[in-house]
């Protein structure tokens, strides 16, 4: 198995086979929160891809050059990673605000939400700290590029599902639904069917 093929599998494995929303249930709060309209979910997706990849890279550097050499990783990784994410989000917000006002108007309101988006912390922890990596049956050695590819896959999987689901929900508003299933319950039933479809990817790549 050559290197490029392995990265390809890693990317699609984390995006589709172990989809963070439908197969692993991480980050469901923003999923049901912002999937009301297509426009907001697009904004959220772009911000998440951006912040997630940056958070994982910075966490990787922090783990490999600070926490691990000092042997404090085991008990300091949670505060360190979450503080990295929180300050990174603040930093990104300031930079975008100064450099590109239109982009800020599109992404601005989603950035604070991302701090408490569990997907960011989950991807950072899994791809950096040994012991949490999802069972993808791929050789994974916690290298820098691997961690970036994995995180990118997770983020793309998140965005894909979020956008498709937002489009579905816009239609669902007009559909005749049993009285007590209106709103959240029917959204969950839809997600269940959606998740069933995603289980099919596990066979497709035979990872």
């Amino acid at each position: 198995m050559n290197e490029g093929w392995r990265f390809f599998l890693l990317f699609f494995g984390s995006a589709l086979v172990a989809n963070i929303l439908l197969i692993r249930f991480i980050a469901l709060c923003p999923f049901f929160g912002v999937s009301n309209s297509l426009e907001t979910s697009l904004g959220m997706s772009i911000s998440v891809i951006f912040v997630m990849v940056m958070a994982s890279s910075v966490s990787w550097v922090a783990w490999n050059y600070v926490l691990e050499p000092l042997h404090v990783g085991e008990f300091l990784y949670i505060p360190t990673f979450i503080l990295i994410i929180a300050s990174l989000v603040q930093f990104v917000e300031m930079v975008i605000k100064k450099s590109s006002p239109p982009l800020y108007r599109a992404m601005g309101i989603y950035l604070p939400l991302i701090t408490t988006n569990c997907a960011v912390l989950a991807a950072a922890t899994e791809s950096v700290k040994p012991g949490f990596f999802t069972k993808l049956n791929i050789a994974y050695s916690y290298g820098f590029i691997e961690s970036v590819v994995y995180t990118l896959g997770v983020a793309v999987g998140f965005s894909l599902v979020l956008i498709i689901f937002a489009a579905l929900r816009e239609r669902l508003d007009m559909a005749p639904v049993p009285k007590y299933f209106k709103g959240i319950p029917i959204a969950f039933i839809t997600a269940a069917l959606f998740s069933l479809a995603f289980m099919g990817f596990a066979g497709m790549f035979s990872l």
């Binding site: 505060p79 503080l83 929180a86 408490t116 899994e126 007590y180 969950f188």
Partner: protein, 241 residues
């Protein structure tokens, strides 16, 4: 006596009126992912109760010293320290730790805990904050247990806790889908629809008795009133209640 009653009120509102999973809609992720087995739910529930109560108490203690601008990072650091305690403690039980996996560090960003710290403990008495943390934690755990009992019992036909089989239906070919990923969504949807039905029934009865004196707090009261306003006029047949 008065003090005791309010403390009990703080505790019990977390069970139904402001249940974190169904009413506040926070902390869904872990509930859906973990509820495949009753055993993991017990540990996860205990972990959340511990972190929620301790962080509520600490934040309530230091609430007057925190500068307003940097309160969120301070809350997160407080929560993260307690999650680290749980993380290192659970590591001594490898089987459980492996199954809960990344969910233990993810308690930090579990919206329940930050929401209670920001929305409640930041301006509440220590005793009230502690009871609120306990109540919300128990509310979370009970929903987790209901979901996991339903899923494990009907998905695999038996409930196994600590290698002991508690209940065994003895039926082959159970609907495995309940244990798998879609089952979590379906279970939650059914429970949530059930709750909607129950609440509407309760409100129609209450409304036909005239509006209650002390309304339930905040968003919940607004939601029930709005819901009952949208549905057709209060039914007449419930008047004899």
């Amino acid at each position: 006596m008065e003090e005791k009653r309010t403390l009990w009120g703080e505790f019990s509102k977390g069970l139904i009126t402001t249940n974190p999973l169904f009413v506040l809609m926070v902390g869904l992720c872990s509930a859906l992912a973990i509820s495949t087995r009753v055993e993991s739910c017990i540990f996860m529930g205990l972990a959340v109760i511990f972190v929620l109560t301790c962080s509520n108490v600490i934040i309530s203690l230091i609430r007057n010293f925190i500068p307003d601008q940097i309160r969120i990072p301070i809350y997160i650091v407080v929560i993260a320290s307690f999650v680290t305690i749980v993380d290192l403690t659970l590591k001594t039980i490898p089987a459980v730790y492996e199954r809960l996996g990344v969910w233990i560090p993810l308690i930090v960003v579990n919206c329940i805990i930050l929401a209670r710290a920001e929305g409640y403990a930041s301006d509440a008495k220590v005793s009230h904050a502690a009871m609120d943390g306990l109540g919300i934690g128990v509310g979370y755990t009970s929903v987790l247990l209901i979901m996991s009992v339903f899923r494990e019992l009907f998905g695999s036909g038996k409930i196994v806790i600590f290698n002991k089989t508690l209940i065994n239906l003895g039926i082959k070919n159970m609907p495995v889908i309940l244990i798998l990923f879609p089952g979590a969504f379906i279970t939650y949807a059914l429970l949530s629809a059930l709750l909607a039905w129950y609440q509407e029934r309760k409100t129609t009865i209450e409304i036909s008795r005239e509006l209650p004196e002390g309304l339930p707090e905040g968003a919940y009261a607004y939601e029930t009133l709005r819901q009952s306003g949208r549905s057709s006029a209060p039914p007449v047949e419930t008047k004899e209640q």
